[in-house]
């Protein structure tokens, strides 16, 4: 039990006027004990070990399968230590321990990134809008902030209340990060438990961040019909001055839009965004702002020369952006102390003087921590720069692809540097003969990192060649995305909760995270459409939500035009940016709370156990790239939601794999009787890297299976599992592990009855009891038995 600030005390005699500055106040730190019908749950403000028991239950079933990205450790000056096979480092650590420690570190970074983002939003917006500003997520959302309530036991009412929550998150991150110090934690399983802890904290931070901005900036509030916005490289009007906002923090972007409105020139300037700031600015403005694309569209766009001013805030910024901007004559304005990029601090200088200095070229950009001034500088600079830069725009500084291609010696250094291992030399060969189709093909899979260029001994601007070759394709990128809607309504949950828990809705699939896709953006819409067509509820956020937009069906409609935006079967729901991932976790929690009436308040284990055993949800982070993605995924794991990543996700050092063939791992308690019964490998894995999108789809269908499925629900889930399997691997085939998921004959989908029965006989299948009230927690059994006794 570690409630922060539980003892507090105000020397009230020294409080003079409550609203003026209070001097001599002898520390009063408040912990919000609020009127809340629900009694306090068992684990308010959990610290590292509070939920360790739950973590160990999960981890003994989903053991890490380690994929060391390096066999060494170089964390301290005793190193490097060779940890290969059974060797240990100077501090005593083994390879498995070190991998889990690395994941802990990575998740600390991720959780800190979100926490600091949340804190900054909270500080800046609570200041602007008053700390008493009520949290308001729209009339259909009464269970606000389910993650925060579940984790901390606090029910925040105002922005100010959220400060307590962030204090807790920050303190716990620091405690947990400390565990990676050389000579602290010594066991992989406890590092993994800390990973889960950080993931849970990360989700709290996500929720605080998004709720703060929704509340303060009036983003769409759980609106299933939020407007459509333009997306793509082709949607930008290059004849206007162009301000590009990149990153995740809406405040500078919002200030730019506000400034333009104030000056009455909103129509004269293009404001477009990359990465999550793009989501946010469309959620903020809901009309003119445009989305260029996901993270990896940065160099694709900048190299076209279109943006005049690039305003960077935080996270997911190409770190060499100042140099890239300079190459095309654009300027950079940095707006946070987390990412100063070496630029001179002009925060307190006269905006006009700053603009002048920028135009003179004496500085390549400026650090402007005052966002209103930053906005003014950005707009003024864009207006002045644009006319001088028109000739640069949309023209790559490259005339002759063929001439460049002829210089290529086929040394393949570029390919050996390319994270995608793309066949550049082959494409150069073709290009040198005038056929640039090979280069254009590379465009599809290339994420514009420019590593190839650094490797080329002939100094061929390879990426520019690729971009040039794909010019037509680039300019035809014109799509529509539904603006991030924010949370799911309570009413929506009520409408589908039962069908999800019974399995009648085959599952909830969330496409989340970054843009490090192996096969290019198209994978994501293809998968999303497949599941939406199969009556899954499809959710999306961040760069994946953008990728889904980048597809057109035969009628030329994008998925957001094709499928509705409500939380219902056969829909595609864009919740918003990365921090809006909290609404995905929140929706799952709300099913347990609103539909199943489980107490929410500080009741983490019971709710997570419920989700793991009953709610068929899975996340697909197909292009998961960063430390934040790792933290978000960890939050899902602790909550009992499996996550599938793409092939690059292998680099996260370990997967959490169940072992379907290990029978004893899959026993659960039947809460009604207290007996241990076989529940089957459901969900089979908690963290899984698929090699291809086909595999991911089959796997996602499988990972939606839950021990609590009713026979009807199980049959529906198996129908999808089997039919996806057949679709890809042949109509004569069945998933080889099917027998593990059929409990009684009534689980068998009618359509495949005979075939499956035959298969089961060959597999020596035996009927298994199905358990309606499965749990992994003795506490739940005790509680249920106690209730029954009454």
């Amino acid at each position: 039990m570690s409630i922060p600030y539980s003892r507090f005390k105000v020397r009230i005699d020294e409080l003079k006027t409550p609203l003026s500055e209070i001097r001599g106040l002898d520390v009063s730190i408040g912990y919000v004990v609020e009127e809340w019908e629900e009694p306090q749950g068992p684990t308010p403000f959990p610290s590292i070990a509070t939920l360790r028991k739950w973590d160990h239950i999960l981890l003994s079933r989903y053991r890490p399968l380690y994929l060391p990205f390096c066999d060494l450790c170089c964390f301290c000056t005793y190193g490097k230590c060779d940890l290969s096979r059974e060797r240990r480092g100077s501090c005593g650590l083994g390879l498995s321990d070190q991998q889990s420690r690395l994941v802990t570190l990575v998740c600390s970074i991720g959780a800190s990134t979100h926490a600091s983002h949340a804190r900054e939003l909270l500080e800046k917006l609570a200041e602007r809008f008053d700390r008493d500003h009520s949290i308001d997520l729209g009339p259909q959302v009464h269970v606000e902030m389910p993650i925060t309530r579940l984790v901390t036991g606090v029910k925040p009412r105002t922005l100010g209340d959220l400060e307590i929550v962030m204090d807790y998150v920050e303190r716990q991150i620091v405690q947990t990060l400390a565990s990676v110090h050389t000579g602290q934690e010594g066991s992989w399983i406890d590092y993994e438990s800390k990973v889960f802890h950080l993931g849970m904290l990360d989700h709290v931070a996500l929720e605080v961040a998004d709720v703060t901005q929704i509340t303060a900036l009036n983003f769409p509030k759980a609106d299933p019909e939020s407007p459509l916005a333009d997306l793509g490289l082709g949607v930008i009007d290059v004849s206007k001055p162009v301000i590009l906002v990149v990153g995740h923090n809406v405040i500078p972007a919002g200030a730019i839009v506000d400034y333009l409105e104030r000056m009455g020139i909103r129509g004269e300037v293009e404001v477009c965004g990359l990465c999550c700031t793009a989501h946010e600015v469309t959620r903020y403005e809901k009309k003119n702002a445009k989305i260029v694309g996901p993270m990896s569209w940065q160099l694709r766009f900048i190299r076209t020369g279109v943006p005049d001013v690039i305003v960077i805030d935080e996270q997911c910024i190409f770190t060499n952006i100042v140099e890239e901007a300079r190459r095309v004559g654009a300027v950079v304005i940095a707006t946070t102390d987390k990412a100063c990029h070496g630029l001179p601090d002009k925060s307190s200088e006269d905006p006009d003087k700053v603009v002048e200095e920028l135009l003179s070229g004496r500085v390549p950009g400026a650090l402007m921590l005052d966002h209103d001034r930053a906005a003014e500088v950005a707009v003024k600079a864009a207006l002045k720069l644009a006319p001088t830069r028109l000739r640069l725009k949309a023209k790559l500084p490259l005339e002759d692809v063929v001439e460049y291609a002829k210089k290529c010696t086929k040394c393949r250094e570029c390919e050996r540097a390319c994270p995608q291992n793309l066949p550049i030399s082959h494409a150069m060969e073709r290009a040198s003969k005038g056929d640039i189709a090979g280069l254009a093909e590379i465009y599809e899979k290339c994420f514009a990192c420019s590593r190839c260029e650094h490797a080329c001994l002939k100094q061929i601007p390879i990426l520019n060649l690729i971009l040039k070759a794909a010019e037509a394709k680039r300019n035809s990128e014109l799509f529509k995305i539904r603006v991030g809607r924010g949370p799911i309504q309570d009413t929506e949950i009520r409408a589908v909760g039962r069908d999800i828990v019974l399995g009648i809705i085959p599952g909830v699939i969330a496409f989340v995270g970054c843009a490090n896709w192996h096969e290019g953006a198209v994978d994501v819409p293809v998968m999303a459409r497949e599941f939406a067509s199969r009556r899954y509820i499809v959710l999306a956020s961040g760069c994946s939500a953008m990728a889904i937009a980048m597809y057109k069906n035969e009628e030329g409609r994008t998925p957001y035009e094709e499928f509705p935006g409500e939380f219902a079967p056969s829909s595609i729901v864009n919740v918003g940016s990365c921090v809006a991932n909290s609404h995905i976790a929140g929706a799952v929690i709300k099913i347990a709370n609103i539909f199943a009436r489980l107490p929410l308040r500080a009741n983490y284990m019971e709710v997570a156990d419920y989700i793991l055993n009953r709610i068929g949800a899975a996340a697909i982070a197909w292009g998961a790239m960063s430390q934040k993605a790792a933290a978000i995924a960890s939050g899902f794991w602790r909550l009992g939601v499996p996550v599938i990543v793409g092939p690059h996700g292998m680099k996260y050092r370990r997967m959490l794999l169940g072992d379907g063939e290990k029978g004893e791992a899959w026993y659960v308690y039947d809460a009604k009787t207290g007996e241990r019964v076989y529940g089957g490998p459901a969900p089979e894995h908690l963290f899984y890297a698929a090699e291809s999108r086909e595999e991911a789809m089959v796997m996602a269908a499988k990972l939606c299976i839950r021990p609590a499925d009713t026979p009807q629900g199980r049959a529906i889930k198996l129908t999808n599992y089997i039919s996806l399997y057949k679709k890809f691997y042949g109509y004569d085939k069945l998933p080889p592990d099917l027998h593990l998921f059929v409990r009684t004959e009534s689980d068998i989908p009618i359509t495949y009855k005979d075939e499956v029965l035959k298969f089961l006989r060959e597999a020596n299948w035996e009927e298994k009891p199905s358990v309606s009230d499965p749990t992994l927690l003795e506490e739940v059994v005790r509680k249920r038995l106690a209730v029954m006794k009454q």
């Binding site: 399968l65 380690y66 994929l67 060391p68 990205f69 390096c70 066999d71 060494l72 060779d82 290969s84 096979r85 390879l95 040394c411 393949r412 250094e413 050996r416 540097a417 994270p419 291992n421 066949p423 082959h426 490797a455 192996h518 092939p647 690059h648 292998m650 680099k651 997967m655 794999l657 072992d659 379907g660 063939e661 899984y688 890297a689 698929a690 090699e691 291809s692 086909e694 595999e695 796997m699 890809f728 691997y729 042949g730 085939k733 080889p736």
Partner: protein
């Protein structure tokens, strides 16, 4: 290039593959094993496109020559194996199969072909550390793989293709 591992960033580790440049030696290594399996990856298509030839058939020949099983999770490869009437294959997801290789199977040699470089690099590294007592691994890629027990060297696609053909010949004899 030839005698180095492939992607520059994936530097060799303290325990690293033996690079085999001689097809006869390669065949010898394979034949030492009682129960080999070949894993085919989804990138095989890219290799086929670059090589301009049917690699799946060659892999099937290799499997036939040494009585190896095949596994893949790629739908196209499955279809082609079906259509060529090849029976001794199974649909296996590589990650799950890697776990089986380490824990439940009695395969003693796993050969890899047609995977994304880093994906295979990491799967091999799992096996290198956690299954090395009973399992050897061999990369048949045109890209040298340091985490295998044995690997073909990094080589131009046409040369690699010729070597694969040569390997089939040697294995058949």
């Amino acid at each position: 290039m030839s005698l180095e591992y492939w992607l520059k960033g994936e530097i060799p580790q303290p325990v690293k593959a033996t690079l085999i440049t001689d097809v006869k030696v390669l065949a010898g290594k394979i034949k030492q094993h009682k129960k080999p399996v070949v894993l085919l990856g989804s990138e095989l298509y890219s290799l086929e496109r670059l090589a301009g030839s049917d690699i799946v058939a060659i892999v099937a020949d290799i499997a036939n020559a040494v009585n190896a099983d095949l596994t893949t999770s790629n739908s196209g490869i499955v279809q082609r194996l079906d259509s060529m009437g090849f029976k001794r294959y199974r649909v296996e997801f590589p990650m799950e199969f890697a776990q089986k290789l380490a824990k439940h199977s009695n395969y003693d040699l796993a050969m890899f072909i047609g995977f994304q470089y880093h994906y295979e690099w990491l799967l091999l590294n799992y096996l290198k550390h956690y299954a090395y007592k009973h399992l050897n691994t061999l990369s048949l890629e045109p890209y040298g793989h340091p985490n295998a027990t044995w690997t073909m060297p990094s080589q131009p696609i046409p040369l690699w293709y010729k070597n694969l053909l040569a390997l089939v010949e040697v294995l058949k004899t």
